[in-house]
Structure formats: structure tokens, C-alpha cells
Amino acid sequence: VTFWRALAATVAAALRDRGLVIMFVVAVPVYSFFYPLPYATQAVRHVPLVVVDLDASPLSRDIVSRLSAVPSVRIDGSASSVDEARTALASGQIAGIVLVPENFARDAARGTPTAVTVFGTGAYPVQDKAVLGSVGAVLQGVVVEVGGTRVAHQGAPAAALLQSARAGPAFIDQPLYNLARGYGSYVVAAVGILIVQQVMLMAIASLVGTWLERRTGTLFGAPRLGLSALVGTLIAFALFVFLALLYFIGLVFWFHDYPRGGNFGGALAFAALTALTVASLGIALGAWFADRERAFQVLLATSVPFVFMSGIVFPREAMPAPINALAMLIPTTPGIFGFVKLNQMGASWSEIRPEFLNMAALLLLYALLAGWAVHWRRQERCA
């Protein structure tokens, strides 16, 4: 079988398998709309907050009205004590409590130490940081104003007050690449690559397993298997992976308006390399599993460990070294970093050198493994 005939026969087999054509063609588009859904709003908004106002002064009411204007939270009623609200916080019904203590306005005017307290819940850290960050910033503003009013009453010169009121911030935290700190922009850019890998590994391994069960296909159908047929099959599978990757980094990122296109030429080249690696691994797994359904059973549960092992969520610096080493065997580990750097961060080819070398080594490893596994299965079953 020649290269081109193997390529064409593999593409045809993938499209004709009524069960697997869904995986090869439909699954990635379906996931591309479904998976980003929770993150479509991009920024934490409307999380419920309870106010415990023990002061009931114009100042405390002013605080409540300012908080109700903060987009990330919504005032979800009030409570008469922290203990009462704490129960709702513990059971996850609310996201935070704002406590204005008794005599707050009086103490603030006198300069007696007092504090507005914001409670978040560490049971949901992302939400906790959003609540403490946004509510804290608003309250800090109130505190500065109150302090200014007090020193003005005490006779501080107006010019000095004006100067301090007009002074810019002492610190600016400026996000790079993901300029709006969009949560979806961060999660989906990474998980998109994982989705393509997982769906395609299942599809390819399942088709190769089916061929092996039935002794058909370009790999197990013919009495002889040449290198050109093996490479043709690999390229055909890689074509599906490549198109799925382009669909994600082109269409999906554009559709959801995520940061994209930083180094499109580089991303194209890296997509080709990644596609060949995933296709090789798919063939190797399929030949090993030798079963149509096994790939689904094995790979379904690997998605969550794989995305965390890539180091995009929890940093590599904090993970045990053996896990980081193990992670380098998974295409998504260099894949997610490589694509995020090329697409979102606009890295040059030399700046993704570690990811390129890792991926190239994996291609070599899995291509050899695929060739060996197919050869071994042919000798075992087709002889």
C-alpha cells in the first residue's frame, strides 16, 4: 500500500465509522461551545453577600449603597449578627459577610481604632479572592475619605489634603496578555488543547483497536505493512488533529473573543508538530488496547490529572519533581504551555524552545512506539 492510498483509506475509514465519525468530526465543535459556557461571563459577578450593620448610621448605609454598586457582588440581605450569617456562609449559600461594628461612624469621626470586617470563605478560594479583593478595595476608599474628613476637622491644611487626595496609587497590578483577567480566557485557552488531545486520542485509539479486532484497516488489513503505509496512516490521523487544533486556536478563540493570534505562524507549525505527536500516541495506544471501547474507558478519567499536570493552573514550581517529569510524557504538557505562549503571549519560536524540544522528543518516542506496537500486534495476531 502506498503512502497516498493509506492516507486516503484512513481518512475514509474515520469518516465511515458511524460511531467514531462523531469523535473525529463532531465532538470537538460540540465541546468548544459546551465547555466554555460556565466561564462565558469572564469575571466573577453577582456573588451574594450579607451585611451585618450593627451601626445603622448614615456612614454604614453609605457603605452598603456603595457595595451594591460593585459588579462582582450583590447584597443578598442583612443579618443581625455574624453568627447568624456565618451559618449561611458555611453551607455555601452566600459568598461573604460585611460587618460594620457598633459605633463605627462615631469612632471613625473621633479617630478611635475601629474596623469594617469582610469575611470570605476559604472553601471556595477563587470566590474568596474575588470578594475580599473587590469589597476590600471599595471599603479602603471609604476609609481614606473618612480619614481625610477627620483630619480636615482637626485643622489639617487644605492644600495638603488636596495633594494627598490627588496622589495616584502607590501600586498598580497590570495584567499582561489576558488584559481583562478573563477567567474563560485563562481556562479555555488551556483546556481547549486538552479537549482536542483527549477526543482525538479516543477516536484514533478506538479506530486502531477496531481494526485490530477485525484485522482490517491500513495497519492490520494487508498481509504486508510498509513504512509508507504506516506514515500515510499517521499523517491521515494527524490531519484530523491538526484541523481540530486550528479550529480551536482560530475559530473558537475568535468566537469567544479570547486573546489570540500572537504568533500565528509559530502556532501553525507547533500545531503540525502536536498533531503528529497526538496521532502517534493514538496509534500506539490503539495497538496496545486492541479494543474498540478501551480507549474511552481509560482516557475519560485522565483529563483532570492531565490539565493540572501541565502546570497552567497550579504552578510547576510547587509540584513534586517526579510529577513534573511524568507530565513531560503527556503531549498536553508542552502543548498547553506552547500554545498559550504562542497564541496568547505572542512568544517567538525561540521563546518556546523548551516546549518545542519536549514535543519533538515525544513525537520521536511515540512514533517509534506506534511502529513497534503495530509490528508486535501484527506478528501476534495477523501472522
Binding site: I22, M23, V30, P38, A40, T41, V44, S72, R86, L89, A90, S91, A108, G111, T112, A115, V116, V118, T121, G122, A123, P125, V126, D128, A130, L139, V146, G147, Q163, G168, P169, A170, F171, I172, D173, Q174, L176, N178, Y183, S185, A189, E293, Q297, V298, L300, A301, S303, V304, P305, I312, V313, P315, E317, A318, M319, V340, K341, Q344, S348, I352
Partner: protein, 402 residues
């Protein structure tokens, strides 16, 4: 386990519950892949996830510093940043342009820029800001780096404000009191140190177990249809489908209930986060999640009568469940469609039960309210799935679907 297997194997195969059980155990002993999917694979994954987050809190995250001020104060700021727990200064670059490639190549997670004349302008009351450029594609890391750099800059500002206030007399203590006045106190209740081990491992282990349990149960049921072995399966049970299901799923339920208890014991015992609420209620909730997983598997196989399709649906319905559950991005912040879909997933309802009983000391009444929907995730799948399975086992023409 080997002993249990051999005892069960020794049982003579007169039709009944024990015969189904013996048939199932015999199959698992003969098929190492299925045993691995049931037992070894989940156990290895749980250990891997546990190990992954065992450091708890990331430290020493590399950042770059561009100090264009070269003053005593700027060097002090650099020293204070280096002294924080979260960040480590990996690079001192002469300019922002020189630092950019280090960010793009992933060597550092951000660049702190201290502008020229920063100290002088601060003393003249026309302060210039210190700017942290952080890589927001790494959201969690950017949050840690941002917090620590902000704290270091803030401590410098506080010190200089204190020093200038002290000029008005009364020494530093009086100055601190005058400046103190009104404060904003930000506190995190429940897991106050924001340990990422409690956060990620605590949430991922139960969801991994839930997913593994659905996969194992779907596989156990689905393979009878795939292999066209429904007759032999029902025959072992004396023709009763409930008995056939019970015998087939009992070993699986035992394994996953044990693993679930092991997960609770790991966190509450070994890793040292005792339940702030009730350990028993937490255990009941996670046990319920395992039963829910089996009920969902019965529904998925009943709907499809096809192992591969049932597994694909498991991928859509269960494997993506984490994203919709509010474990990271809060549910209240999601759009309506995502909230609605999240409500149809059992893990979404399990999560607040666990966090409430484990970390939050939620009352039993809140637990009971949360358990009610989980019961629905058992009742509804069984009410729909069992009749579908009952019909399919009598229709040999539908068996063997791949």
C-alpha cells in the same frame, strides 16, 4: 481481595445472587484490564492527585525586577519582595524591554517596575506607582504574585507614612495610633490559609472517584450487551434483573464506598483537616455520591444499550461536571444556561455538602436540604433506567452494538 475472590469462586454456580457475584468476580480475575479500571487505575489517580498538591501553598514563584531608581528605598523594596513567601526574584533586568522575553518564555511570572526617582518623588508627596506586570494567563499564580508584591509595596508605604507622621510628636506608637484610625479587615473563614491541597485535592479526589465509579459501572453493565452475554448474566441470576444488577454491582459498590471512606479518612485524618462539621454527615454525603454514580450508569446504559455511546455520554455529562460545579468559578457568576446545566449535575449538589461539613461547620439542617437533590439523582435515573434495561435484556436484536 485474592482471598475474597477465591472464596467466591469456590461457590457452586446454582442460579442466584451468589452465582452472579461469582460470575462477576471470575470475570474480573480473568480480565486484568477491567480489574485495573475498577481498582488500580482509580487508586493510582487518587494518589497522584494527592501528591500533586501536597506542598499546599506555592512558594518561590520566579519574578523579575527592573529597578530604575537605584535608591536605598528601592533596594529595600526589592529585599522585602524577596522576603515574601510567594515570590522569588529570579532576574534583575536593566529595562522593561530586557525583561519582556523572560516573561514570554515563561522564565518569570511577572516583572516589577520601580521607576526612576521613585524614592525622591515619594518624599516630595508626588509619588510614582510601582507597577507589577503579571502574566494573567496563569491566573492562580498571578493572584499569589500580585498579593505578595502588593503587600511588600504596602509595607513600605506604611513605614514612610509612619515616619512622617511621627514628626508631629508622640513617637512611633502615637503615630501608629493616629494613622490607625479606621481599618479594613479582610478575613477568610474556613481553610483560612487557602491551602491548595485542601482546595484542589479536596475537590478533585471526590469528583475523580465519582467519574471512575460511573465509568466502572457503565463498563460492567455495558460489556454484557457488547459481548452479547446478557443471557448468561441473567441466567446466573435465575432470570431476575434486580438480582443480576445487585450481584454485578455489589463488588463495584463495595470498592467505591471503601475508596470514598479512604478519601475522607485521608483528609480528616492523615492530612490533618478534621471535619469542622460532622464527619458522619460528610461520609454519608460522599457515600451517596457513589450510589448516585451507579444509578447514573444504569441510566446511561439503559438509554444507549451501547458501551461506547454510554462512555461518550459519561464524558459529556460527568467528566465536564467539575467546570459547572462552581469549584473554581462561582456558580452565581455564571450565565443562566450554565447555572441550569450545573444544577442537573450531581457533583454540583455534593460539593457544598462536603465543604459545609468538612471545612465550614454547616448545620445538619443545611446538610439535609442539600441531600434531597442527591436522592433525586438516584431515584430519577433508576426510574427511567431500570425499565429501559428491563426491556433491552429481552431484545437480543439490540445486543452487540459497538
Amino acid at each position: 481481595l485474592a482471598a475474597a475472590l477465591s472464596v467466591a469462586m469456590a461457590t457452586p454456580a446454582t442460579p442466584g445472587l451468589r452465582a452472579v457475584l461469582a460470575r462477576e468476580l471470575h470475570y474480573l480475575r480473568r480480565e486484568p484490564w477491567d480489574l485495573a479500571l475498577l481498582l488500580w487505575f482509580p487508586m493510582a489517580s487518587l494518589l497522584l492527585l494527592l501528591w500533586m498538591f501536597s506542598t499546599g501553598i506555592p512558594t518561590g514563584l520566579p519574578i523579575a525586577v527592573v529597578d530604575e531608581d537605584h535608591s536605598v528605598a528601592s533596594r529595600e523594596l526589592v529585599r522585602r519582595m524577596a522576603a515574601t513567601r510567594g515570590v522569588a526574584i529570579a532576574l534583575q533586568a536593566p529595562s522593561l524591554e530586557a525583561a519582556q522575553p523572560a516573561v514570554r518564555s515563561g522564565r518569570v511570572y511577572g516583572v516589577v517596575h520601580i521607576p526612576a526617582n521613585w524614592e525622591r518623588d515619594g518624599l516630595r508627596h508626588t509619588p510614582q506607582p510601582v507597577v507589577l506586570y503579571d502574566n494573567a494567563q496563569f491566573s492562580l499564580v498571578a493572584g499569589i504574585v500580585g498579593g505578595d508584591v502588593r503587600a511588600a509595596v504596602g509595607s513600605m508605604g506604611l513605614d514612610s507614612a509612619l515616619a512622617s507622621e511621627a514628626h508631629f510628636g508622640g513617637g512611633l506608637a502615637q503615630a501608629a495610633l493616629r494613622l490607625g484610625g479606621v481599618q479594613v479587615d479582610l478575613r477568610t473563614l474556613f481553610n483560612p490559609s487557602l491551602s491548595y491541597e485542601a482546595y484542589f485535592a479536596g475537590m478533585l479526589l471526590p469528583v475523580a472517584l465519582h467519574l471512575f465509579c460511573v465509568i466502572a459501572a457503565v463498563s460492567a453493565l455495558g460489556r454484557e450487551f457488547r459481548n452479547r452475554s446478557v443471557d448468561a448474566w441473567l441466567h446466573a441470576a435465575g432470570g431476575s434483573l434486580p438480582r443480576a444488577l445487585l450481584g454485578k454491582l455489589a463488588p463495584l459498590a463495595a470498592v467505591y464506598l471503601l475508596l470514598a471512606m479512604a478519601v475522607v479518612a485521608t483528609f480528616a485524618g492523615w492530612r490533618g483537616w478534621p471535619a469542622a462539621g460532622s464527619l458522619g454527615l460528610w461520609m454519608a454525603a460522599i457515600a451517596m455520591l457513589m450510589i448516585v454514580s451507579i444509578a447514573i450508569a444504569i441510566l446511561l446504559v439503559g438509554l444507549t444499550i451501547n458501551l461506547r455511546t454510554a462512555l461518550s455520554l459519561t464524558g459529556i455529562y460527568v467528566a465536564t461536571g467539575l467546570a459547572f460545579s462552581g469549584f473554581s468559578y462561582p456558580r452565581a457568576a455564571m450565565g443562566e444556561a450554565a447555572q441550569w446545566w450545573g444544577g442537573l449535575l450531581p457533583y454540583t449538589h455534593y460539593l457544598p455538602l462536603q465543604q459545609g461539613q468538612w471545612l465550614g461547620a454547616a448545620p445538619a439542617s443545611a446538610w439535609a436540604q442539600g441531600m434531597a437533590p442527591l436522592l433525586l439523582f438516584i431515584a430519577v435515573p433508576l426510574l427511567v433506567g431500570l425499565p429501559l434495561l428491563g426491556r433491552a435484556v429481552r431484545q437480543p436484536a439490540r445486543w452487540g452494538g459497538r
